[in-house]
């Protein structure tokens, strides 16, 4: 397995603001990688460094086996980028922008262009200034997805799209993965990340705080337990990994770190379990935990 993106210890400051503070990111070729973090965490800055638009102050970044700053022009032939906030030239039509961006990359597949225009229900004859936010986003998406490239870098690509179009987007990304393309997907739509991504990296304040498959990340979080027991429970609230413990007669409710689940359940059975509801962590909880600490 080769790596498409390999970043370690990346640093970038804007004046006194330290935007990236030792960020690590590894994206394997052929995977769809979710790139998550609260607003201002440094996601777009990382992407701009990878595109050679910003020059890193320190650390190492490698993209498709090249240096993103030095080899920008050659590398850009092999990737397509969708910015989070798409601004178009007011006097150019959407179709012209798609062709322009395609030509500035490795080239455009006319059949896929036509197909994507239909699927995204986009009118290519309208001028840039008359498109809505969602339609501007579609212009950039069609240009990227119709391009003949190895790597897609998408910065919150579905912002402004309606649910129907989000669905179309998911289908397209699934097809990209089948075709063996690598995707770096920065997103806040957790359902989208859950549905599409093989692995995710969570960053906060310019540092990577978590990286791995979703299953691995779930393991690091808590399961919530509601139980009714034969006799009042004691001794569990002081066990390692137990949080938010509350008891009412024979009923208890608490959360437990997934790693400690086994020990806690053994303890529960000592008191005679009458009913047990166990809820795995939702993705939301996973992220809220990471996002909140930063606030």
């Amino acid at each position: 397995m080769t790596t498409a993106i390999s970043v370690s210890g990346l640093r970038k400051a804007f004046g006194r603001t330290q935007a990236l503070d030792g960020l690590d990111l590894t994206v394997t070729t052929g995977e769809v990688h979710g790139f998550l973090g609260p607003n201002g965490a440094g996601k777009s800055t990382t992407i701009r460094v990878l595109l050679g638009l910003l020059r890193a102050d320190g650390g190492r970044a490698e993209l498709l086996g090249g240096d993103p700053w030095r080899d920008a022009t050659e590398l850009h032939r092999r990737l397509a980028y969708v910015p989070g906030d798409v601004t178009l030239w007011p006097t150019l039509s959407g179709g012209e922008v798609i062709d322009l961006l395609g030509r500035l990359r490795g080239g455009l597949d006319p059949k896929r262009r036509k197909d994507l225009l239909e699927r995204f229900d986009l009118d290519p004859t309208k001028k840039g200034r008359t498109y809505s936010k969602g339609n501007r986003q579609k212009v950039a998406l069609v240009a990227a997805l119709a391009s003949d490239v190895e790597l897609l870098i998408l910065d919150e690509p579905t912002s402004g799209l309606d649910p129907l179009m989000e669905e179309v987007f998911r289908e397209c990304i699934a097809r990209e993965r089948q075709d063996g393309r690598t995707v770096l997907l920065s997103s806040h739509v957790l359902a989208e990340v859950e549905a599409l991504c093989d692995r995710v990296s969570i960053i906060r304040n310019g540092k990577t705080v978590e990286s791995g498959t979703l299953a691995e990340l779930r393991h690091l979080t808590r399961t919530s337990i509601t139980a009714e027991l034969g006799s009042p429970l004691s001794g569990v609230d002081t066990m390692a990994g137990v949080h938010d413990y509350s008891a009412q007669g024979n009923k208890v409710q608490f959360e437990v770190d997934t790693a400690e689940l086994d020990a806690v359940l053994r303890k529960l059975t000592e008191f005679g379990v009458r009913s047990l509801i166990s809820q795995p962590p939702t993705l939301e909880q996973l992220f809220l935990r990471h996002y909140e600490v930063s606030a």
Binding site: R48, L51, L53, L54, R55, E96, R103, L104
Partner: protein, 530 residues
Amino acid sequence: MNTLVGTGSLVRLVLRRERIQLPVWILVVSGIVAATASSFASLYPTVQSRQELAASIVNNPSILALSGPAQGLDTIGGMTEWKYGAVACVLVGLMAVFMTVRHTRADEETGRHELLGAGVVGRYAKLTATLIVVFGAGLAYALLIGFALTAQGLPAAGSFAMGLGIGGCVWFFSAVTAVAAQVSSSSRAANGIGGAVIGAAYLLRAAGDSAAEDGPRWLSWLSPIGWSQQMRPFAGERFWVLALFVVISVVLLGVGYALVGRRDIGAGLLPERAGRPSGVFGTFGLAWRLQRGILIGWTVGIVVLAGALGGISQSLKSILDSSPQVAQALQHLGGQQSLVDSFMAAILDVIGLAVSVYAIQAALRLRAEETAFRAEPVLAGSVARLRWAASHLAFALIGSAFLLAVAGTATGLAVGLTNGDVGTQLPRLLGAAMVQVPAVWVLAGIATALFGLLPRLTSLAWAALVVFLLLGQLGSLFQLSQWALDISPFTHLPKLPGGEFTVVPLIWLLVVTAALTLAGLAGFRRRDVG
């Protein structure tokens, strides 16, 4: 009056955003009025010395065309108005246009207007707040200039007449722009319309002021710059002319407000046409698409400007022919041909400055694309930074050379066709126009250097142009030392037609241009984008 709700807060917002630019504009333009007056006071202290200067001006229609009517030239105030009045009107006109567009159409284009308009803000509040500030600035000019000149001991009536004439131009051009900002759907076009009106105003008064007794002198009355001169500061003030500024501005504002009430936010008056569903072009094709409209607009403007000024030069000739005394008086200055030549050289200087505006505008398109985040998707494509930069700089350099060639051709044809000697006039004036190219390129170079090295300060390129303009217009009056005058690239140009052609300074200017451009490109290669 709920269509005006929120105006007060918006006025504060406009003032907050203009807190540096606005005071700088007002202080610089007014300060130069005061400095011009004190320079004249020390250079021509006696009435007799002033009358001598006046005698050489009154009969010289070419000087009248460039500056303004000869009136009150035996007073220090009258000389100040004659030398600087029209220039000041052009400068404050530019300020009024830019400022009005910045807070109306430009805010709509970027979507900021929408953000504000969704608050408790009346339909007319934004335009009204902008106009309150800009019209207030006009009043500030009037008062500041009035007091500054009175403080130097000049008559109060003339001082305030001059101030009001300049302030009135702020009002007029701001009102014109208030209409332009409704008609066009882009801020660039609105600025272009405003600039074209300023150019037309200058031309109309140039034609009127240089006309013969029985000629079309009424042309000056079609121009707001003409009105400010027709108020006759220091030469029997006619304050009633101020009513023209007020009435015409109010009429224009009425049109502007009516249009605001009729159109949607963000839209112009013309409906949006559909574009082509596809189109294949690359980096240079993109630059062409983005720059061609402006280049075409400038070409039309330059043809009109150069053709009209070339035509005026012929009317000068006929005035000189009809008056043997004048011709004789001018004989010792080098004769009629040299007079027309020096007029043409002065015209080409003005055109060189105008084309510099285009050169800076075209070069700074790079920065505009960058700050609008439109450079990002292009540079994320397989486009080397230098190639992208070159695609726009080509317009700054080749485009400005093209415009000067157009100017030379237009004046050459205008002069040649009326004289019947196109064969000699066309190459002569075309050559004279092309001599301006290296100086104009220096400004493109300055803009490029700023873009690459100090991208947040690219507007200093405009400041450089204003400094060069003032050095050329007023440098000798202020008796600045030669090295100060030498700062301006235009100082180094041979005075053509008529003067002697020297190639060395042109080569130096090209070397400076190359150095600035290369420095800018080197800086852009290593700096962050965005």
